[in-house]
Amino acid sequence: MAVLEAQDLTLKYHQRCVMDGLSVRIPEGRVTMIVGANACGKSTLLRGLSRLLKPAGGTVALDGKDIHERPAREVARTLGLLPQHPTAPDGITVRDLVGRGRYPHQGFFRSWTGKDDAAVQRALEATGTLELAGRDVDELSGGQRQRVWIAMALAQETDVLLLDEPTTYLDLAHQVEVLDLVTDLNRTRGTTVAIVLHDLNLAARYADHVIAMKEGAVAAMGAPEDVVTEELVREVFQLEARVIPDPVSGTPLILPIGRHHATAPELEPA
């Protein structure tokens, strides 16, 4: 299994320092959700963890070894990333796109083996996109396309999978489906998963571990029940809310108060 951690990480975007001296560990074999308000640095953190962004200071280590000192393809065999807004080339079919996820595993002369076929097949089945395999990616709906991208990330068959807002463009049913899928992956194969998610309620439900970020630093870390509290929501999201146990899953459920709709007196801000 693979342990991913950042030590004393400093990340900059165009000379602007987004985070300074951050140390964080992505727990092995668990589902970690990274949450926070807009522009708090959560996407930046993910990009820093995945080799997309070279650190201005500090290190990112996978299994104790700095990922920037290892060859890119070797890292890509263990650490996979699905970025925001991926773009598919014109005219590419689903099967072809998912197949490109096998690139890190293929030798220098890029030979395609039975193992690659099997991985693609598994990925298509797991995401329910097998019947779309021959279609052009351009023709698919937003939700279908997102599932195909996830299939590509799955075909990469890594020990660690990072997903940056994988549920944008998806309706609620598909959001739940994607998160269930990722959970399956974690439970059956032990894949370490880290997801940046903007929906706090879904994050609280699906997470084994939550990292809440504010202004480039970690505001809180731990199990959802411990981290997702009214004080945290107030501090990290500047939002007045009540937090109650979700009647379906038992995980924390955030009920925002807002200015117009609070009815019963017991729902007034504390």
């Binding site: 995945s50 997309l52 890119a72 890509a76 699905l82 970025p83 991926p86 080339p89 796109l97």
Partner: protein, 340 residues
């Protein structure tokens, strides 16, 4: 199915090659052709007239034309795939203008001809390419979230530089005497008139390096198509790969321009035509289509056009432009309509 179509293209290239050598305003029979070539290689007796025309004119012309077409076709396909924009190409983004400007400078200011002009063209193309790359890879890179921001800036920088270089070329054309200006004009349009075995040899050497380089980079290119982030996630070193791609594509365009001048539209058209014909974006198919376009256009320019225009042999680049622009515009119209 796909492989068959690419093989069809390859066969068409061979066919057109022989058509341009054997047919046209001067015809050679097939047995004669083999005799000529065999005798040339073994030092045997030449056929008066035919030997000269075949060995000194038609054959080198067809050989240079084929190789130039392959080089331009590949360069265009590489640019279009890398920039993820079917409408990008070295002609449009100013690299050809860099070659043209340098060549016209050589012709008008230094009275150069032949190999010196080719060398100047090569230098010009590479210089402009370097300039465009430097411009578009620095500066603020705003992430637009979709599409290829760096790629678009490359296109825009190239279009701007092309416009500026065109002004320079126009100016030089007014400073020269009319004969020199007319010569420069022919060069500016891309021509196989000065095809020779020397040029063919140099071009061949260059291609023996560049074509394997293309096959080497083809794999990473397919991953780069998925977007910078996804490609990095799959283990590609994005900036390095892109730099190598640009270097290879520009070198291909530059050596082809040095050999035959900026034959317009070949680089741009080959990729889209190949894709429509074979159903898949394919580098080998683009190369073959490039060769087909050049051979066909040159056949028309050298043999048919003089019949229509009372003896003027047109530069090949003029024919490709006249055919290419409507096709490009049609592509734009359909691409834009598909967007709506």
């Amino acid at each position: 199915m796909r492989l068959d179509r690419t093989a069809v293209l390859a066969a068409a290239v061979v066919l057109l090659f022989f058509v341009s050598v054997l047919l046209g305003s001067y015809t050679v029979t097939i047995p004669d052709f083999f005799t000529i070539v065999a005798n040339h290689l073994t030092g045997g007796a030449k056929i008066p007239g035919a030997s000269f025309i075949v060995m000194e004119n038609k054959l080198p012309r067809a050989v240079v034309g084929t190789m130039t077409g392959i080089a331009f076709g590949l360069a265009g396909a590489l640019f279009q795939t890398m920039l993820r924009n079917p409408l990008a190409s070295p002609d449009v983004i100013g690299i050809s203008f860099g070659a043209s400007a340098a060549a016209v400078v050589a012709i008008v200011l230094f009275g150069a001809a032949g190999a010196v002009v080719s060398g100047a063209a090569l230098t010009g193309a590479l210089a402009v390419a370097g300039l465009i790359y430097a411009i578009s890879s620095g500066g603020k890179l705003r992430r637009t979230g979709r599409g290829n921001a760096a790629g678009n800036r490359l296109v825009l920088a190239g279009v701007g530089i092309a416009a500026a270089l065109q002004a320079v070329v126009s100016f030089l054309m007014t400073r020269a005497d009319i004969r020199t200006a007319a010569d420069a004009l022919v060069w500016l349009n891309g021509s196989l008139n000065s095809a020779s075995w020397d040029r063919a040899g140099v071009l061949f050497l260059a291609l023996t390096v560049l074509v394997p380089a293309v096959t080497f980079i083809a794999g990473p290119l397919r991953i780069l198509e998925l977007g910078d982030d996804a490609a990095a996630g799959l283990g590609i070193r994005v900036n390095t790969t892109r730099l190598i791609l640009v270097a290879i594509a520009v070198s291909l365009a530059a050596v082809a321009t040095a050999a035959a001048g900026p034959v317009s539209f070949v680089a741009f058209l080959s990729g889209p035509i190949a894709r429509r014909f074979t159903g898949k974006a394919s580098l080998p198919a683009s190369a073959f289509v490039g060769a087909l376009i050049v051979l066909a256009a040159d056949y028309f320019a050298a043999n048919l056009a003089p019949l229509l225009l009372g003896g003027t042999v047109l530069p090949v680049g003029v024919i490709t432009g006249v055919l290419g622009a409507p096709f490009l515009l049609w592509l734009l119209v359909t691409a834009n309509r598909k967007d709506a």
